[in-house]
Structures are given as C-alpha cells and as structure tokens.
Subunit: 108 residues, 2 copies
Amino acid sequence: MPKLELVPGTLILLVLRVLEAGPLHGYAIAQRIGQLSQDALQVEEGSLYPALQKMLMKGWVEAEWGLSETKRRVRSYSLTAAGRKQLAIERAGYDDVTRAIQSVLKLA
Amino acid sequence: MPKLELVPGTLILLVLRVLEAGPLHGYAIAQRIGQLSQDALQVEEGSLYPALQKMLMKGWVEAEWGLSETKRRVRSYSLTAAGRKQLAIERAGYDDVTRAIQSVLKLA
DNA sequence: GCCTACGTATAGACTACCTATGCCTTCCTG
DNA sequence: CAGGAAGGCATAGGTAGTCTATACGTAGGC
C-alpha cells in the first residue's frame, strides 16, 4: 500500500517513454519506471506484460529474445517508428488532459 | 470525439473540487467542469450520476431536492466535512502521481 | 407540434488495471 | 547443499471506473 497506483491510461505512455531512451527487457522496464519516479510508481508484472503484448500487436515495439547481463533468458523490447509516433500522440494527449484538470483544480 | 476523455480516477476529485466552491446540482456540476476546462473535459451523465451515488454513500456529499432557477426539479449536492477531507486526500494523491509521471517523462 | 436544452437516473458493455498463480534460473547464505 | 530471494516471462480471473444507450420528464422557442 505504500506505493502509488498508476493512473489508468498512462502505463503505455510510460513504457514508450523509457523505451525511447533505448531497448530494455520487461523486468528492466518496470524497474526503470520505479527508479525514475523514486519508487513512487510501481508497475506490476500483471499489468506490464499484457501491455507489452498489446504494444507488440499494435506494432509500437518489437521484441527479440536474448540474454541479460545476469545470463538469464530475456525478451528485449525496442521502439519502432510507429511507437515513436504513438509516444508523441499519447504525450500530447496527456499534457492536454492534465492542463485541463489543473484549470479546474486551481479554481479560486 | 473532439472532447477529451476523463482520466479514470479523477472524476471524484473534480466533482469534490467544484463543490468546494458551493453547492450545485448534477447537471450544473458537469457544465461547470466543462466550462472551467474550456470544454476540454466532458463529464458524461452516465459517469456523473453513479459517481454522485457513490459519494453520497461514502458521506462525502449530501443531497437535497429543490427547484432550479428555471423552475425544474433538481437535486442539489453540497460538500460535507468528510468530503473536504477526502478532497484534500485525493488532491495530494493526484499531485504525487502527476509529479512521479513527470519525472519519468522528462527523462533526458 | 416539435425540437432543443435542462434535468435525473439505471443497465450493460468495455477497458485497463491489479492479484494471484505458475514456471524457470541464478546467486547468496545458512 | 538446501533453501530462499531476486531476476525473469506470462496468463487467468476479478474488479473498478468509465462510456454508451436508454428511459423518463419539463420548459421554452420556433
């Protein structure tokens, strides 16, 4: 209960964003998001893997099997051109919504 | 399709927030949120009324039947003390999450 | 007389998340 | 060397919260 829940709809955005900096395997994606948010955001595996499946089907990422530095079998995900495009869309949408919400919240 | 979807989880927060400024009836709540956000946010009736029911059950708002300025039968909602407390909680939670998300998004 | 805006409310579908579970490997520690 | 923790991938099932569609009703303008 210490960690924050994700705001529904932002998971894909966050994953696309961390992949923009370079390919990562699933487990590392979750860790990276946690780390960047000072552990405020926790990505559950039961949320992450289905999301990655969806992103694969949409063509936003591509996957490749390989080995991690710790010699374990890992599936590495990398952003495609379509993924970059989608990232821009989701980011703009997120900005719009948060701006709109702020304008309500800061009501005098 | 022009208007933005709500981010799930923020509806209660927005309703509590506009009620903080004074009692309103349901229809007016939706209008107020739309207006404050320059019509970016659209609160659907099928979302709003169930949310208000929940807020009633939780004791965050109380309702009273009355008449609108246009002489129609309206149900006016006002914030309770518990509602004010909940507003503070949700607001803080929202701030924390958006801050965390921003810290991921602004990744170099 | 009809349409639009105003107004409340529920049922059903859908989306997207979480929990729980399963399975496997590597590494550390007792 | 046995066991557990941490590293890994993945699915099934439940749930929460939204949207769509529908229902019902009134006031006012054309």
